[in-house]
């Protein structure tokens, strides 16, 4: 079966700014059937590793596959929960410790659907998207991030 879907881009270069999150929230004020928004933000942690302290993560992705996968996940979540809106943004390139690298946003008439969908979306994004984080250390070494 051929698919003619056109996956939406989810990648943004560098960190996701709080202002862009505010804009995204404000864009929903015209959708007056929405009663609840659930948002998850991933922030780069400055973990201490044996090899040094994390000062940034450099993200890379197999973009074409990630966008197809994100679209597939998106469709599955829309089919499972009664959502009004769903947005996914993931950073590529360097994101400094303390900055936002993942922004997942679900909206629904009632809160439960928005919350459950957001949780599931984040789990699936972390497990299924071909994205890799290279943790840049203050020792000028790096280690590859491992998701738990």
């Amino acid at each position: 079966m051929e698919t003619k879907r056109t996956p939406k881009n989810i990648f943004v270069q560098g960190a996701i700014s709080p202002d862009s999150i505010a804009k995204s929230i404000a864009n929903h004020s015209t959708k007056t059937d929405i009663g609840g928004h659930s948002i998850f933000l991933g922030q780069v942690r400055s973990d201490e590793k044996p090899e040094g302290k994390v000062i940034a993560i450099d993200y890379s992705a197999y973009e074409e596959m990630a966008l197809e996968k994100a679209f597939e996940i998106r469709e599955a979540i829309f089919a499972k929960y009664p959502l009004s809106c769903m947005h996914i943004y993931h950073s590529l390139g360097e994101v400094k410790a303390g900055e936002i690298c993942l922004f997942v946003f679900t909206s629904s008439k009632h809160r439960k659907a928005a919350m459950d969908a957001c949780d599931e979306l984040v789990e699936r994004i972390k497990a299924e998207l071909p994205v890799w984080g290279k943790e840049i250390l203050d020792s000028e070494n790096h280690v590859w991030k491992v998701n738990t």
């Binding site: 890379s60 197999y62 993931h90 972390k126 497990a127 071909p130 994205v131 890799w132 590859w144 998701n147």
Partner: protein, 82 residues
Amino acid sequence: METKEQKISVRAFGMIAEKIGSAQIQLIGISTIDELRESLFDQFPDLKNMKFSIAINKQLASGNAPIPADSEIALLPPFSGG
């Protein structure tokens, strides 16, 4: 018409790309996943100790799947987005 001699292009990501020293390599005479692994392990013995999945045309491959001509092959270390 021997598919054994097909030339395939293999993309590598993350720590696999780092270990190989390249984001893209060309291999010849590969028509299954098992042949791909064998060829990779010959050229890059370090990969034997690394965990990675293989995607054929952006779909994760399982078992000893065949590799059709002109496939896009990718070597994917464990995902760590988010």
